[in-house]
């Protein structure tokens, strides 16, 4: 499928108040033809899961700079599963230590993007994820 019609929720869980990265990604995804629902700062796992449900998104992108990813991500995954959103992939961007990347992937995170990741890389990965789901 083409990028058009892919819906992505971009959310910032937790307490850090820096959302430039999230906005840059939101814009890059829009420029790649996706529909990006941006929820803003300080979202709880419940809020993110509910927004993902209402907006019927294909992908949830989390931007986490606070270091709380190991606590937040599993709770968001749980909430989403409880809402029946098992098929919706989570991708994470932000400052994630290498050691945590594998643990996050084991929790069901489809991709982790650290600082310096090009926006093309993220777009490509999302398209791959969508392609895999179509098959």
């Amino acid at each position: 499928m083409t990028a058009s019609g892919i819906r992505v929720l971009i959310a910032k869980p937790g307490l850090d108040g820096h959302d430039r990265g999230a906005k840059v990604i939101a814009r890059a995804l829009r420029d790649a033809g996706m529909e990006v629902i941006y929820t803003g700062l300080r979202q709880t796992p419940e809020m993110i899961s509910e927004a993902a449900l209402q907006e019927d998104v294909d992908i949830v992108g989390l931007s986490i700079l606070s270091g709380a990813h190991m606590a937040l991500v599993p709770r968001i995954r749980q909430e989403m599963d409880a809402n029946g959103l098992n098929e919706v992939s989570i991708i994470v961007g932000g400052i994630i230590p290498d050691d945590d990347i594998q643990s996050l992937q084991e929790m069901g995170v489809a991709a982790v993007f650290g600082p310096g990741t090009s926006t093309e890389e993220i777009v490509t990965r999302i398209n791959e994820l969508m392609g895999a789901r179509q098959a």
Binding site: R7, R30, G33, E35, V36, E46, E50, E55
Partner: protein
């Protein structure tokens, strides 16, 4: 899609979300589902809210939704934002201002991109409103940027239309130019704590005194370009709804009660003397005309080989025939013509 209808009716939010996606993507099977849902519509009060970017629409919608929740009513919000004409993508950011509403199961917020398909938006919006209506929401708030014909079209699916202005966005001529004042049932000057609010209110009042062109239903007819023999001059002055001007400061919750009251007044006005019945009949007529037009265009081009179209384009380009003659050819086109 049809399997989602029963869960939707029993309050399954996931089914609701997926039906809305199916409406947006015109997925196969959605027509059957919509037909099944149609008898369950007509319950929710549809309120359209429009205004220039930066007038505070999302904040105002949030405050309205909170007020309706306080009254124990359920609220659905359809927030329509423009699709980029260059990439087909969109950033839908209305939820940022609607943070206060999250966690409340009596509220359902859906962001929708315009997707730029000609006429498709009005249709998708109408169908999305129906899905939300059939899901049983008491109030359906449709928010859109008032910047073009398609946005104005969306608003025409509403029963009560609220046009939002803010001080400092330009003089009263801007308001006239924008052409959205004519569709207003209620006018709001938001950000009323800012300088220039008095002159903004005065400008709107002056506009209204110059004569609100006609009552709402006649306007709808007029703009829909449906020729009716009805005189545009109202017979009695009490037949005319003069849009009230309400001052609000959405971020402080100021003026929300007044706005709520103005919307209720309009609702009561429509409830009298069969007005609502007539308005709805006109909505339906407009919608049918739209849908038939879409269907005919689709049907015509589906039966037309590209070679035939290319041929006609060439004839017009070489000045052999003029565009209107070309249209007549196209309308008269039958697949057998190619076989000859």
């Amino acid at each position: 899609m049809i399997e989602l209808v029963d869960p939707l009716r029993s309050g399954d939010r996931r089914a609701l979300a997926r039906l809305l996606t199916a409406v947006e993507n015109e997925r196969s099977g959605i027509d059957v589902a919509l037909a099944e849902l149609y008898p369950h519509t007509g319950h929710g009060w549809v309120i359209g809210l429009t205004g220039a970017p930066g007038t505070g629409k999302s904040s105002l919608v949030t405050e309205l939704a909170k007020a309706y929740r306080k009254q124990g009513e359920t609220v659905a919000i359809l927030a329509v934002d423009p699709t980029s004409p260059f990439t087909g993508g969109a950033i839908l950011g209305d939820r940022i201002r609607m943070r206060d509403l999250s966690g409340d199961k009596g509220v359902f917020i859906r962001s929708m991109a315009t997707r730029g398909s000609l006429g498709g938006l009005a249709r998708a919006t109408r169908d999305a409103i129906r899905v939300l209506d059939a899901a049983g929401f008491d109030r359906i708030l449709v928010e859109t940027v008032g910047a073009g014909q398609s946005e104005v079209d969306i608003v025409r699916a509403a029963y009560t239309t609220v046009v939002i202005e803010a001080p400092g966005l330009g003089d009263d001529v801007q308001a006239i130019k924008a052409g959205i004042l004519e569709i207003a049932d209620v006018l709001v000057v938001n950000k009323a704590d800012r300088p220039g609010v008095d002159s903004a209110v005065k400008a709107l009042r002056t506009m209204l005194e110059l004569g609100h062109p006609a009552s709402r239903e006649q306007l709808v007819t007029h703009h829909g370009k449906l020729v009716q023999s009805e005189s545009l001059q109202p017979q009695h002055s009490q037949d005319i709804w003069i849009p009230p001007v309400v001052r609000t400061v959405a971020t402080e919750g100021q003026g929300i009660d007044e706005l709520l009251a103005a919307i209720e007044d309009h609702r009561h006005f429509l409830a009298e003397a069969d007005r609502m019945k007539r308005l709805e009949a006109q909505h339906i007529q407009m919608e049918l005309v739209d849908r038939v037009r879409d269907a005919l265009v689709k049907q015509l081009f589906a039966g037309l080989p590209t070679s035939a179209l290319d041929d006609i384009v060439r004839q017009v380009q070489s000045r052999a025939i003029d565009p209107q003659t070309a249209v007549n050819h196209l309308l008269a086109f039958r697949p057998v013509d190619v076989a000859k």
